[in-house]
């Protein structure tokens, strides 16, 4: 293995403190791929982009830019696993880059702590790291348990992908990068209608019925594709599609029972790290994944 790639890992809140199996599986997968992650206690909540923005946008962009400035001072590229964190840091970074007045205003606030934001720092999601920095060939090479029997529906979620000028993703309506990483594990892609549909989560605090209706429409499309599982990157999408799946079933009077895996779990299954997934399956999966694990094979 060539020399380790180093990133400043931005943990956020949802992954480390609600869904730590995300962090566990992805960290181990990245280790196998020669990636080293560093954390710092100086990072705070990104802050999350779905409600804090509407409370006080100026505070949101300032805290976000501060987090980017903390990373800048360390020097390595920043990698977030959470799409919300990634979106917040990438958007704030982009806004600072484009708006001199905003940059000046924020740097004035940062001055006392000796930090500075330039707008030129590299903010990446784990998907950028996997697909572009590490590359599909390197991933394929360490797959020991090709997931040939699985058909996977990739759910990208909105905040990972949009707006393109800040996220530097491949396409706003029809992104392919996660499809490619999933194929590298040997699994097949299950195509479904409205690939970039929103999971519904952002409006749970203001309109739960509407949120869950949107979730159920999305799950219906995925169910029709015959997918064995949905794979997500974002912890908020996971909560909506997985944890709240029963609510989506109730509101639409349907039965979905579609297992949802985090991308790190899927990769772990393909790389012989099955134990990491099985050890936590009951605690973090409400929709049973037992059949899926059997189909995936590779259990030790």
């Amino acid at each position: 293995m060539s020399k380790a790639r180093k990133y400043t890992y931005f943990p956020g809140c949802m992954i480390p403190y609600r869904l730590p199996h995300f962090e566990l599986t992805m960290t181990e997968v990245l280790k196998k791929l020669g990636v080293e992650l560093e954390t710092t206690p100086d990072h705070s909540c990104c802050p999350e982009p779905t409600t804090f923005t509407g409370v006080d946008f100026e505070a949101w962009v300032t805290i976000a830019a501060r987090n980017v400035a903390v990373s800048e001072a360390i020097g390595n590229d920043t990698m977030a696993m959470c799409s919300g964190c990634f979106h917040t840091l990438a958007v704030a970074n982009h806004m600072v880059h484009e708006d001199e007045e905003l940059k000046e205003r924020i740097n004035k606030r940062l001055k006392a702590s000796g930090l500075e934001v330039t707008g030129s720092h590299e903010v990446k999601n784990v998907l950028h790291v996997l697909r572009n920095d590490i590359g599909l060939d390197a991933i394929e090479k360490i797959v020991t348990n090709p997931l040939k029997k699985l058909r996977i529906a990739p759910h990208y979620g909105c905040h990972l992908v949009r707006p393109l000028e800040a996220t530097n993703m491949d396409h706003a309506d029809d992104p392919q990068w996660m499809d490619e990483v999933i194929r590298a594990t040997g699994a097949e892609i299950a195509e479904f209608e409205n690939k970039m549909a929103c999971c519904g989560a952002p409006i749970m605090p203001s309109g739960e019925d509407k949120a869950v209706t949107i979730t159920s429409k999305h799950l219906k499309n995925i169910k029709a594709s015959g997918a064995d599982a949905i794979v997500v990157v974002c912890p908020t999408c996971y909560t909506q599609l997985e944890t709240q799946q029963a609510k989506a079933e109730a509101i639409s009077d349907s039965e979905f029972r579609i297992p949802v895996l985090y991308l790190g779990e899927l990769l772990a299954l393909s790389m012989g790290l099955t134990d990491l997934v099985t050890a936590n399956q009951r605690r973090y999966h409400r929709v049973k994944i037992t059949e899926l694990l059997e189909k995936a094979g590779g259990a030790s």
């Binding site: 730590p20 705070s44 804090f52 923005t53 006080d56 929103c198 409006i203 203001s206």
Partner: protein, 199 residues
């Protein structure tokens, strides 16, 4: 005053809208009376509002409008163009998913979810903020996390062999936000919505 009525007339006249007069004829200089609108135009990326010519693709692309006809992004933009500040107190604006389907399909790439975010910000002091959003904001400015970190969760992390992430330097962060005044604002605001955090 004459200028004001002329502009509002232009904004309301469908023929003018179709021909794109609205985006070209309304300038910041001419609408000084329109306070809410001017405030919004001064915010980062707020000025993209002026590119809106009420085409309506935002509404046809919106997954919320699809199930709730009273949620109409095109009409929201029209109200904001007219500086109708009442929109800041409409609970409906909080039903925006921020999914950006509207922005992706807008021929002028108007930053629609962002403009609705600014409308929400404007409605904060009137209490137009879901209780869960307000609670979360308070947790963020007091603990530096969007959710309370529990001792059992710290144990779980330890068992999994995950690193101790420490605690964010809140004194430094709160001091940095002093000129924005968010801490005192959050203390004063009372949500007009019922209920509390439920995730």
């Amino acid at each position: 005053m004459l200028g004001r009525f002329l502009i509002i007339d232009l904004l309301l006249n469908p023929d003018c809208q179709k021909q794109g007069f609205v985006s070209t004829m309304v300038t910041k200089g001419k609408v000084l009376i329109l306070e809410f609108r001017n405030w919004l135009l001064d915010q980062p990326e707020g000025e993209t509002l002026l590119r809106c010519y009420q085409y309506g693709r935002c509404t046809s692309a919106c997954p919320v409008a699809d199930i709730e006809p009273s949620f109409n992004p095109r009409l929201f933009l029209q109200k904001i163009l007219l500086s109708d500040e009442l929109i800041a107190e409409e609970q409906l604006v909080w039903n925006c998913l921020t999914c950006e389907q509207c922005e992706v399909h807008c021929p002028e790439m108007v930053k629609i979810p962002h403009i609705l975010i600014l409308a929400k910000v404007r409605g904060l002091m009137a209490g137009n903020v879901p209780a869960a959003a307000l609670d979360r904001a308070k947790t963020i400015v007091s603990q530096g996390r969007s959710l309370p970190v529990s001792p059992p969760m710290l144990k779980t992390r330890e068992k999994m062999g995950l690193p101790d992430l420490g605690t964010p330097p809140m004194d430094q962060i709160v001091a940095m936000l002093a000129d924005i005044g968010i801490v005192s604002k959050l203390e004063k605001v009372e949500s007009v919505y019922g209920g509390s955090e439920d995730e």
